[in-house]
Amino acid sequence: MKYSYFPGCSLKGTGRAYEESLLPVLKVLGVELEELDDWNCCGATAYMAVDEVKACVMASRNLAIAEKAGHKELLAPCSACYLVLNKTKHYLHESPVVEAVVQKALRQANLTYSGNTPVRHPLDLLVNNVGIEEIKKHVKHPLKGLKIAPYYGCQIVRPYATFDDQYNPTTMDRLLEAIGCTMVTYPLKTRCCGGSLTGTLPEPGLLCSYILLKEAITRGADVIATVCPLCQFNLDCYRDKMKGKWGHETIPDPRNKDARVPVGPHLDIPVVFFTQLIGLAFGLSEKELGLQRGFAPMRKPACAQRQSAAA
């Protein structure tokens, strides 16, 4: 089946590695994508704070273009895009008045919105359309022994639980287990990373991200797997600042349960997209998967041993 593909702004900028790894992985699995013609920004969380109706118009242009493209479904890998597009669909369904405005605006572009194109997330597609068994068939180098903290973030499970459990989502856990990884218990898997606050008000924003990193480290993870370009950015790119603020805090020593060590050096835990891990297991190269773009780079399967040796 062929899907319309809505990359969104982040996947062309700071979150390039997500697109770079998603496309080859889907190619291996025989999923065809066609990038949405002349797609525009979904509006994310910032736009809605200025004008909600215009936000709906922005988002619906993409939905209407997808309908015109004629593929049955629209794939939106970025959590913010995924939520905004789905939220717009809900909003248009609930409010005929807003829908009338949107339709009127769309007519200016010879577009129309019927609401018949579901917006899907790659996790949903991989687990429910491609299937875990099919994915297993393509694994060339199982990532045996690699301990993962699966971090889902907010917006793919809230406010709508569309394809996974709202409180304890497991689609990414199942996918990564299928390629050989081990999941650590990570109770914060849907806690907020701080979103855009890390850039605007670092004090509260960075604390949100730091809590997530620290918990993953304490739980013994080698790598944090993410599904969202903003979560990935927040956890990956502000480590210097976090080390300065909280690097002196202590965590249980991984080698000696009775001792405690400063968290600072451990904050360099790789934070990758789940698609990068799947790509590695499929035997794709690090470069092809954009792994060099991480601030704490992860090396190929040997990573597991390297991590424990470093610890």
Binding site: N40, A49, D51, E52, S95, V101, L197
Partner: protein
């Protein structure tokens, strides 16, 4: 030492504000808030807020417009929707926060150099003008408009991003920008109509909200 009155007076209320917010699609359930505080307990950012989310809900419902629109709470909401999904009364707290943010921007209720509303408005402008947002340019504009010193403190992050190919050097944009402009013009026209209607009926047409 400057002393401020901490207890609200009846006269601080802007009568009708709560009703107005609760009439916006998606915000209706606020009427049924039982002040249980689940939202405040769940919110990962409430520890930094001047009013907790529970307080903002009551202040809104009780017409304390100035307090609500000046609060840091609405801007600290990072849209994680934790409160919304847990609210026993199905109040869409995150959406109400969005509604309040819009009102605070439209009515000029935020400190001039406060970065969050500045970012929101720059995001709005860039996505209109270009059809797409290039994050590093957006962040740079925000820093220049709010805190140039903070911008200087980000040089290292910028350099690290640049080295890893995550700092685009040109602005992204769509091809059919005029199409988007025409679409937005439709909404602008409707807002003006709605405003006029509001004035004629003596209602509270003080801001756009599309078509109601």
């Amino acid at each position: 030492m400057e002393l401020k009155r901490t207890i609200k007076y009846e006269s601080d209320r802007v009568k009708g504000f709560g009703r107005e917010v609760m009439s916006v699609p998606g915000c209706e359930q606020l009427e049924h808030c039982i002040q249980c505080g689940t939202c405040s307990g769940l919110c990962p950012l409430s520890i930094f807020m001047d009013y907790t989310p529970r307080q903002v809900m009551e202040l809104t419902r009780s017409d304390f417009k100035t307090e609500v629109l000046r609060s840091t709470t609405i801007w600290l909401c990072a849209s994680c929707y934790a409160c919304t999904v847990e609210c026993p009364k199905q109040i869409r707290i995150t959406d109400i926060m969005y509604e309040l943010k819009q009102r605070a921007i439209h009515e000029g209720f935020y400190p001039k150099r406060f970065p969050i509303p500045v970012l929101a408005q720059e995001f709005y402008k860039m996505s209109h003008k270009r059809g797409r947002v290039t994050e590093n340019f957006l962040a740079t504009i925000m820093f220049l408009k709010t805190d140039i010193l903070a911008a200087l403190g980000m040089w290292r992050l910028g350099l690290n991003l640049l080295r890893r190919g995550r700092f685009p050097l040109k602005l992204e944009g769509i091809k059919r920008k005029s199409e988007l402009e025409r679409m937005m013009a439709v909404v602008d026209k409707l807002s003006i109509d709605a405003l006029n209607n509001g004035h004629q009926t003596g209602g509270n047409g003080g801001r756009q909200h599309g078509a109601h």
